[in-house]
Symmetry: D2
Subunit: 390 residues, 4 copies
């Protein structure tokens, strides 16, 4: 069995346009594909250093504009025009419809209620008692461990070390606030240094592995729902009965009834999200703004809660317990992505909570539209009209 | 409270370059952002009809090439060069490393073991007994319901109607095979027609809602893990002990031990995926190939299973129970996305299972690399070298 | 380290009163405890053969009488007086209060909607493809496998073999109806014989293990909630607004609102039951009637669903997806247990569905009482009055 | 529809033998059942005050003796003879077999690693921001709230108020240590007083409901697994390869392999316990010792973890995160139950951790036996020999 040819790399400068072209030529020769449009990118390959390896060009994802979306948040205030990158027909139209409804109802109130990003080392012992005693030592030495962790970062702050003992091990979660970065790398590095400090200073020199898998990085989990990962954000608004009838062709009493039915469905199915489709808006906004797109896995989790008010209006909220996003670092500085952040006034430092509020407001608007379409019977017909059904 | 200005639309032709420019001008005026690179797209706006509304341009996501990845599947056979669209530094390098390991070990064996895409209407009754009797009627009339559903589609086939009675309701899942399409719209339409047929033909004319929320569309769920959504795909290979030592600097016995520890972590955390990071590879490959990026929410779910063999080699597999992907329809026909599919020999009809096998193989390769890095202690240092840590 | 003395056993007749006394003497000598009341049992030790080993006497659990409980079921019809064995003060009083409410509201409607008891062998293969092909063979040979399984039992019927492929294994669930027995032993034996038949007749002679752990015997699971274990039973009634006010001192509108709040709590917590306290009634009734008390683990799972009707009345239901109970075999024939079953008209053959309906009705009544107490603020004070608070 | 007759009650003294007889006569007349053995109880009815209402007699559950079980714990040390109340044939024999194995291997090491019993009030606000600010106030006022809560109890200590914000609500868990009591009533009362203090002292006079359902009282939950409910206890021992072969007829390498297979099964099924059958031992021991039998629902949750050591021995542990038990209060003082506790040296104050250690050791022993029987193929045949298969 012969080995297939390896992809060309250039040890001197692997991010030159020529090197990208060389790889495209290679893969065209190997596969017969023609990479014409992939080659027509508007990014200087050199700026992708740190974002990608073996660069060959760019994928172009259509960008649509939704809004205006009125937000009455702590950090996000005003009317926003929201860039959504997607290939799913009707998505932008549907979110826009929801944005109109929430805006006419007075806008979405948004609140970031908790910050906590983790690495989760597991420490290994001879028996459970040693693990428990180590747990006590961790509490006693928290200040020193925090100091060690924070030598590696300006913006990251170690706020807690959660402990989950199992068998002869102590699973931990080192929880941080991470400023405007999503913080996975920052917390990885800080926790590594903290663990090395621990290994040096604890008399038992305990073995550890940097992930015991309960950070649940890039995965949905019950842990995320309960303990938060990234940011826990809540968006809420009150849907006026008159607006529901006029714009959505539904009655709020039916909506409330459907909430019960869908909640039972979500519970029975063990669904990560009890509303309609958080992942659609999150994915489209994440791609547009240079977020780590894999974090849709965690970020789409959430809880919808509604209440029919005495006057017939309907209080509607979504709580996103594991929203992971950044306005600095990662892909946020790439040209198109940065422009999308700038459309939202969210590029750079001091903007992460504002951005998180916008994401939550977008999710709520999208749920308003889709939920109502399901109820009103518009769902299939709107996809017929706008979607790509061949 | 005045209403914000609405986004310009053109009833005649909303997909012209001029109309896109008009919207860019509008949002630039509103927000102060400059949309230079968003405007430099290589897509004819007209072809995005059916993929997006309110088109303003494109987001450009860097594309890297990983591989070669040897696959010994039913449908995917040979050495593949895999396009990954991401902004997360080290991702392509890490997956490439894993691909080298699995390829040198003889390649990844891949198998699609089940197809099932759903819509999940809920039927409403006066009491549980009526709902149960309706359930029996559904079984008796399956052939006719299937015929009604299939009038709407050439490639979709209704294979089962699962029943989950709760209270005075019958939650159902209408399960289909969907050919090369992901099938969410196809099954929505078919199920709508089936439900209308039911409503006409059942003596009780039962009320229904087209989604009782147990399709768990765009959400992870226990239901998906148990009952499959989209495709259930398994990738497996045997890591030779010598290769683990030489390429990954780990011993397979340690790897096996770590599997226990991570499995306990995943169980305790209630994680949707018990391996390392399925979402990374899936998201990057989905974006590159025009899949619905929100389906990362469902598709990242899975189970890792390993076994240390008597000779010291290590059997390693991932099972993805809810992989949703297409080689036809949706975003697959967009220019850059189609080129990416063509690199894999996966564009068009008859290719969906092949593509699903490639996705599973990529996930396995990525897990090999990251898991080993965590174990070997390379994890933080490789991110330092390749990632964007400022 | 010397070995402790072993418990006396008599190979000739280990179930004589003398042998029980010998063991009591032994343990009194070893521990200093005095086993006076344990020795005062009303059971002929000989009849406990098949129920227990190393018999030393009996535990006496106080038995209270709750009711009358009006049930309008398929199998249970009339007013029932329900024996509850418990040591938790207020439990019988609280259930009785709920029974009065549901009875005055016209009684509880009960429906058994599904029967399915399982053993879950896992079959082991070289790779996933072999496992998938074996799965097809299982379908093709179902009639013969069913015949083999049913050679071992008169009342058990193999109705389905569910398949859950993971890695190079096929996890299965052999699903049975089991007549009036709970059926764990019956299905164990039948499945063992079926597996041996399979091993003999399948060309690959596949290795198997009789439990791959997805029967989830004696454990709550999402699988149980989705797929049913034992019986899936639904109890429902309509709480009149006037009765709620008069007997429970709550308004149905508040009750409905609290349902939303508790449902969100249950979802967030990942709770096995979304109502108030199914386990209390189930445990007390199971102990009284000779059920396997460990099955509280599975049987307490369930879903509460409520709906405020237009006239202000409140539709209230519980769905128990994994109720495991018997009116024949196990502990049902022991003297006090049998008397309890006879109080309900549920001893012996042809009574299992009737008994299941009673259990579900009891659970619903208990939830009515406790939920209302929490809402009305009675909860703590009633425990003060009736409970053992020293 | 006429109302059924109510159960006789005596306002003067409802706990007299005569009153119990009167109720038995009543139910015999109503149902035709004969309550001969229920009437032959060894408990003074007067002592059941606080444990039951509408007393009519006692259920007698057969009691078997298992052991000796060697425990090397912090609190439980020595060889124990364990009373198990059950009606499931083979249970006592199987647990005894496991106890022999763990004892010959040097005994079970047991460790209580966390105490936390909860009530979980939910506080209701106008919006999420108010709820968040209230959360900060709760932290600031913790000392005063703690003082208020602890006015109601000598042994209960408020150790934490966990916060889980959703929508416009703050779900909380008031976490206590509860001494030798299980603590559900104690924490209910203390939390009620604390909430009333809060309502009086917080400027917003927030509405609250005493249970927002995330205490998950009498229910299994992911919350319990993650955050602990009652006691978190770990039992561990090392199974010598020679003993496994001699007493269990299995090889430890096969055992380790089966652990992987069962862990995958548990994960896929979403099972509350990843070992064999914790609920059996817990239920039998709980009934024997006067625990609240409904707490099997929570207490059976847990995680099994094993590791094959280099010498071929097998480290085996169970972690029970939600063990709820008491040696004081509840049913522990009833005559037979107290004798059972005394057999274990666990009656009265200062014994709860010792008892918890014994429970965990029993669970481990039971898993050793059943797991090995499944592997060795003994499972069905032993039930044939000892069980009640008619």
């Amino acid at each position: 069995m012969s080995r297939a040819d390896t992809i060309p790399r250039d040890r001197e400068d692997d991010y030159s346009p020529e090197q990208a072209a060389r790889r495209r030529d290679f893969v065209e020769a190997k596969t017969g594909a023609r990479l014409d449009t992939i080659a027509r990118f508007a990014i200087d390959p050199q700026v992708t250093r740190g974002n990608i390896e073996n660069f060959i060009g760019a994928v172009q994802m259509p960008l649509g504009l939704a809004g205006p979306l009125r937000i009455v948040g702590e950090h996000a205030q005003g009317d926003f025009y929201v860039p959504l990158a997607t290939t799913e027909g009707t998505l932008v139209a549907s979110y826009s419809r929801g944005m109109r409804v929430v805006s006419e109802s007075g806008g979405v109130r948004t609140t970031v209620v908790k910050h906590s990003m983790q690495r989760a080392p597991v420490f290994l012992f001879g028996n459970a008692l040693e693990a428990r005693e180590f747990g006590q030592w961790l509490k006693d030495e928290f200040a020193a461990i925090k100091a060690a962790a924070e030598t590696t970062t300006r913006s990251g702050k170690l706020i807690d070390i959660e402990q989950y003992p199992v068998a002869n091990m102590l699973y931990t979660r080192f929880c941080y606030t991470t400023g405007d970065a999503a913080g996975q790398n920052m917390t990885g590095k800080a926790t590594f240094v903290a663990c090395e400090w621990i290994k040096t200073h604890h008399p038992g020199k305990p073995d550890y592995i940097l992930s015991g898998a309960i950070d649940t990085d890039k995965k949905h989990s019950a842990m995320n729902l309960i303990q938060t990962r990234g940011k826990r954000v809540i968006a809420e608004f009150t849907l006026k009965r008159e607006i529901a009838s006029r714009l959505l062709r539904i009655d709020t009493a039916d909506l409330y009834r459907y909430r019960q039915i869908a909640a039972v469905g979500a519970l029975q199915a063990g669904a990560a999200y009890s509303g309609a489709h958080s992942a659609n808006g999150i994915a489209a906004l994440f791609i547009a703004t240079g977020q780590d797109e894999a974090n849709v896995a965690e970020s789409h989790a959430g809880i919808t809660y509604g209440q029919l008010l005495e006057n017939g209006d309907y209080y509607w909220s979504v709580t996103l317990p594991a929203l992971i996003c950044a306005t600095y670092g990662g892909g946020t500085g790439l040209p198109t992505q940065r422009e999308c952040l700038e459309m939202l006034g969210c590029y750079g430092q001091g903007k992460a909570d504002k951005f998180a509020e916008i994401v939550a407001a977008v999710v709520l608007a999208g749920d308003v539209s889709l939920t109502s379409a399901v109820l009103a019977g518009d769902w299939v017909t709107s996809h017929e009209a706008l979607g790509r059904n061949r």
